[in-house]
């Protein structure tokens, strides 16, 4: 009827409520939850879904009672061990395992086990299981932002190093409308610092976008440069008292790396998989709880009222059929545009 979704994500909510409902002891709910995960895993991979992501443990969950947290960590350790056994489902479906999150927050044994599991399954190519532990989208995004800043800083340093060594002070021509680039890339606080008359010599920088500004009839090049002070020195040498027109300036422009959407995406923990096509949260709650905020912005959220250990094949089929229906509608709309 329609395509099978490539990637389904699950928020496995409701284990404790299930245990209470069944009169089980605490902790038993999570064990039942693991069994449900194995079941769903099989259904998904049989259906032809390649990527499966599950929200196993949020950074916020560390705030729970220490006994519960310990119980979950022990369970994880136990189950990781089981998954790596010869006869497990991992080998049956050729699953490559990823543990997504701030793994440094995990206790040593769990972290080591997770890393071992990732290494052991690195060569599997048929299907992928991404287990989010010690994860929140906030943490993922902040980490991606930090890494992007670090990358750009390194890029700029490398660029400067190669230019200075060549004794050349010309930049690479980009051929784009610089003013257009500025309007799009220069943001609030940086713009105001630029408008100061000492723009050339201050350590202004906004990811290295060139600013062409008219001040008192003179067109200055206030270059937004690197994180290095030397960068500014070089810039002011080339820019002092410049009265070139915009057309000329295009030839002698520095193109500094700017942070873009792709840079952040590249540094996301979830960058190893495509975005989910469907997000399912069990137990009837209708919120994301800091899970895959970036990656699920265009995918539908289904909220079956069943608790996670109660999830079954029909819930999955229902979600897939709905996905196919709306996929058909969106494809039609896309073709119209």
């Amino acid at each position: 009827m329609g395509p099978i979704p490539n990637h389904i994500a699950f928020i496995m909510d409701g284990n404790r409520r299930y245990a209470k409902k069944q009169g089980m002891e605490e902790g038993a709910g999570h064990k039942a939850g693991f069994l449900a995960l194995m079941k769903i895993l099989c259904y998904c991979y049989e259906l032809g879904v390649k990527y499966l992501t599950v929200y196993a443990f949020s950074i916020e969950n560390f705030k729970r009672k220490p006994e519960e947290v310990q119980c979950l960590m022990d369970l994880m350790l136990e189950k990781i061990g089981e998954l790596l056994k010869e006869e497990s489902v991992v080998n049956q479906y050729g699953i490559r395992l990823y543990f997504i999150g701030n793994l440094k927050l995990l206790s040593e044994p769990v972290r080591v086990a997770a890393e071992k599991a990732m290494a052991a399954t690195a060569k599997n190519t048929k299907t992928v299981l991404l287990i989010c532990v010690a994860y929140t989208s906030y943490d993922e995004i902040v980490h991606a932002v930090q890494e992007s800043c670090k990358d750009k800083r390194n890029e700029i340093e490398a660029l400067y190093a190669s230019k200075v060594s060549n004794g050349v002070t010309e930049g690479v021509e980009e051929g784009e409308n610089i003013n257009g680039t500025i309007e799009h890339d220069v943001q609030g606080s940086c713009e105001s610092s630029l408008s100061k008359s000492q723009a050339l010599n201050t350590t202004i920088a906004c990811n290295g976008v060139i600013r062409v500004e008219k001040k008192k009839g003179v067109i200055l090049h206030a270059v937004q440069g690197s994180c290095e002070d030397k960068w500014d020195e070089v810039m002011s040498r080339t820019s002092n008292g410049v009265t070139e027109g915009v057309a000329d300036s295009k030839k002698k422009q520095w193109m500094h790396p700017t942070i873009k959407l792709v840079d952040i995406e590249k540094n996301m923990y979830m960058g190893v998989a495509p975005d989910p096509d469907i997000l399912i949260r069990t137990s009837g709650e209708n919120r994301l709880s800091n899970f895959l905020l970036w990656q699920t912005t265009n995918c539908p959220l289904y909220s079956p009222s069943a608790l996670w250990p109660e999830i079954g094949l029909w819930h999955l089929i229902w979600a897939v059929l709905n996905f196919q229906q709306s996929h058909y509608y969106f494809e039609k709309k896309r073709k119209q545009l």
Binding site: R16, I141, S148, C149, N207, G284
Partner: protein
Amino acid sequence: MICLLTLPPVPLELKSPLSFRTRAQQQQHSHPFSQTLRSHTVPHKTLTGGGTATTTVANVALSEHNDLNAAEEDEPLPAELNEELMPNHVAVIMDGNGRWAKQRGLPTSAGHQAGSRSLRELVEICCKWGIRVLTVFAFSYDNWIRPKVEVDFLMNLFEREIKSQMQKFVSEGIRISVIGDSSKLPQSLQKLISEAEEKTKDNSRFQLIVAASYSGKYDIVQACKSLACKVKDGVIQLEDISESLVEQELETNCTEYPYPDLLIRTSGELRVSNFLLWQLAYTEFFFVKELWPDFGKAEFVEALISFQQRQRRYGARLS
């Protein structure tokens, strides 16, 4: 291999999986599949009181006028709602104008016109019921690819609406803020927005945030760029970049309540579509089948009732 003969029986709640269930049907079962997706038996707002057949653009204008007068009267909080559990910040994805117009054989512009009336009414109710902030997704960054005729109409509509509501904003203590990449908006609209924001910046009773040419992802990218600037300037260290620093750089830093408590999306779509991204981490979602021009007080009350019944745990446990 899954053997079809041995499939478990279909759970009661999934018996009609692809049809939207009426509220009556859902109440028969103790656990509706999707509590928030429903087809209402509540009477829809009809424009001329006679159903859909006689709807015309002229009638839209007439009933807009009538509704404005009606909205002036006092609106006490309905008995079903608990004043103490009202959300501070409500966000709305105003989806379905085009489909609404198509259903009536009208041009898309009529749908947007009717939609702006829904918005005015919602602003009115929010003000009266003590909600502090309303953020609406008026135009996505991804919507620029729509036909130019429609985009131009929308830009004109924004301008007309801001101009016509300006007096009301001032007299009712409403602060208006616009978030999004305003550089892509027509110059005249940019200027009008600046003026409106300036004129209402000290109003504190209620804040209307209009997301125009907005994208949740780009909000984060621009926050990232601001932080990169600060790192470069030595204002902060790379290691200082934290969740609260990111939050402060997002465009929603124009309000005391940057995180919506409740998100409502109309027209039956179950996704966020690049609206507020970071800000929606713990927001309660309420998806409504009605198209935006048909969303009124009754639907809003239902969303609020649902919201007030939810247990918000933020990852911890309520013992």
